[in-house]
Symmetry: C2
Subunit: 166 residues, 2 copies
């Protein structure tokens, strides 16, 4: 699938079928993350993939932002020494979410969870931050695109505030 | 181009030909950014595309991390109210960099620049942060991939530290 197609087809998916995500697909998602750019090529990111239904249920219990019943969660972790590191983690997360579209999977980025309990469920050490959860699985909905600001509201040519002209 | 191909082919490009980037390509890059996910669909990002050779030169003068002579710079800006917003900006930036691969363009994410002068050159208001510069253009080099940590060092199954098994 073309990059632009995947970008345009990606939705935040909050309803999943109960079809499990095969290991080879999980490996591709993590491989996509592995090749993301990172400042100074530091690759300080760590990923935990969860497919055990019991652990998925427990994570869900402590994640207010998590809707539906994902069959896969990928937890994005890192020792975030400076906020700028979050840019790299965003890039790796986007690689996962776009590759998911290519594989027919849906995803939703979740930032709303109880950090303490979820870190404990995932065995994340104290010195490491849990930054984002990606809830994933085969989509059981086809939501319309969310409204997006038009290009001329978010993009400028040459100087901030000057209309974009292609 | 398939998503995974673009992910694997992307390199940080630091040498560019002097071929200008056409407006339609710039529009596609910004369109890719526009469709990135953002927390609560807030889309608080703003993008400035710079192709004026004089302004490109001046930005370069104040950007220690910028190598080569890009024919396009996309500045990623936002009012970063909380560090987590940086995740969204990373996702939008990755969309731009992957779509660039599809269009035959190269890119490099630059975080090392003198914020004051570059903000002034771009007319960015005081209340808005300049978060990242993407230097872009048609690549004049084909760098080998940077070494990447193996999957079993960065990915775990079920719990942090437990070996990844697909």
């Amino acid at each position: 699938m073309d990059v632009m197609d995947a970008i345009l087809k990606r939705r935040s998916i909050r309803a999943f079928t109960d079809e499990p995500v095969p290991g080879e697909a999980v490996e591709r998602l993590l491989e996509a993350a592995r090749w993301a750019p990172s400042g100074g090529n530091r690759q300080f990111w760590r990923f935990i993939e969860v497919r055990d239904p019991r652990r998925l249920d427990m994570i869900k219990m402590f994640s207010a932002g998590l809707k539906g019943d994902p069959t896969l969660i990928i937890a994005i972790c890192a020792k975030v020494s400076e906020p700028m590191n979050l840019l790299d983690l965003g890039m790796a997360s986007e690689n996962i979410m776009l590759e998911a579209v290519e594989l027919g999977l849906g995803s939703c980025a979740i930032a709303s969870y109880s950090e303490g309990p979820v870190k404990q469920l995932l065995g994340i050490p104290d010195d490491t931050d849990l930054v984002l959860l990606l809830s994933m699985g085969y989509p059981d909905e086809s939501p319309a695109p969310r409204p997006k600001k038009p290009l001329n509201e978010i993009a400028f040519s040459e100087k901030f505030g000057e209309g974009f002209r292609s």
